[in-house]
């Protein structure tokens, strides 16, 4: 019964899709507002990567919201899976005999971990020149920490420090926005010099915000994995 009803719903939605998609031709030029970004983006923001300049300059408010969403997810996950410290100790004792990973895995991950962190940092520092940016870099850093969790199940990051780094980098983002409000009257304006395009030190506030986002996302995703692994065994 449930299956039949849902298939009917799906068919209705599919018909809607077909009608709607037939009005949007694939691969045709329908760029409207974005023309402005493509033509004036480099001059106005100094970033070579137009996606970056859209993400952080023209639509920077969305990115602030996106960072907030991830922050909410990390905080909410911590709240939902929260276990009192005392109970958690007991559980840890019970789980003491977690099996170690093999030698090859341990050595390999110890070798690769700094390289992965370096690569993540490269990705978010070069966000305005090459594809990538804060979020991607942060996810790579979090993957590095995930690798360490997998290879060494008993080691943990320091939650307090990572939480502090998280809120500090969030504050940096909001603070830069407020500085823009002070200097030029608009929230999240680019108030720094734009530099020469296609060099590392260019594009005003974009690299700073991307570094902040990179740290924030990295620590948040690591915190999510840590909470999932540690709490509520």
């Amino acid at each position: 019964m449930r299956r039949i009803v849902s298939i009917i719903i799906l068919i209705i939605i599919a018909v809607g899709f077909i009608f709607a998609f037939s009005k949007i031709p694939f691969g045709k030029d329908k760029i409207n507002v974005a023309n402005y970004y493509i033509k004036k983006g480099i001059k106005q923001t100094g970033a070579v990567n137009i996606v970056t300049s859209v993400v952080l300059n023209y639509r920077g408010f969305d990115t602030l919201g996106e960072v907030t969403v991830l922050f909410i997810a990390a905080v909410g996950l911590g709240a939902v899976l929260f276990v009192e410290r005392k109970i958690q100790k007991n559980m840890d004792d019970k789980e003491d005999k977690t099996k170690r990973a093999s030698l090859i895995l341990r050595t390999g991950s110890r070798l690769l971990f700094p390289l992965i962190l370096l690569f993540g940092a490269y990705i978010f520092v070069h966000g305005h020149l090459t594809p990538g940016g804060g979020f991607q870099g942060g996810a790579i850093i979090a993957s590095g920490f995930l690798l360490m969790y997998l290879a060494f199940p008993k080691q943990r990051i320091n939650k307090k420090t990572s939480g502090l780094a998280e809120s500090l980098s969030g504050l940096i983002f909001v603070g830069i926005g407020l500085l823009g409000l002070v200097f030029s009257g608009y929230f999240l304006t680019n108030f720094l010099p734009k530099g020469i395009p296609n060099t590392l030190f260019s594009a005003g506030i974009i690299p700073i915000i991307y570094i902040a986002i990179g740290f924030k996302v990295g620590f948040e995703l690591t915190g999510i994995i840590d909470d999932l692994l540690e709490r509520s065994r």
Binding site: S6, L10, F21, E66, V67, A73, P197
Partner: protein
């Protein structure tokens, strides 16, 4: 034959969205439902990107000389999808944590056996 070329990305995104919805509506396992939500997100991302695609143009990154502004695809959907991916990951993590909590209370993942989840 050119019809299928014009429609293939719409087929991909619409197909993923419909499969995801089917999983959410019909399947009874909670983790599978979360997988379905993930598929819906992915499908929407493909839809947005292929709306912004223009045939024969390149990515909107002027990293080397010789790329003219008339020759790049639409950057706005890419920016939107970046945001949408992050939101998808956030929802996924939160959903899985709640699934774990539900399992601890009920010792089952089957929706039909959990009293508060029947609909």
């Amino acid at each position: 034959m050119s019809g299928i070329y014009n429609w293939m990305y719409y087929i991909a995104s619409g197909g993923l969205i419909l499969i995801g919805l089917y999983i959410v509506l019909v399947k009874t396992n909670l983790i599978k439902i979360v997988i379905g939500l993930n598929f819906i997100d992915t499908g929407i991302n493909i839809l947005l990107i292929c709306i912004g695609y223009v045939r024969g143009r390149t990515a909107p990154i002027f990293s080397r000389p010789g790329i003219s502004p008339a020759n790049v695809v639409d950057p706005v959907p890419q920016a939107l999808v970046l945001t949408a991916i992050v939101i998808g990951v956030a929802v996924l993590a939160l959903a899985l944590s709640i699934v774990i909590k539900v399992y601890q209370h009920n010792k089952t993942l089957n929706v039909t056996k959990i009293k508060g989840l029947k609909w």
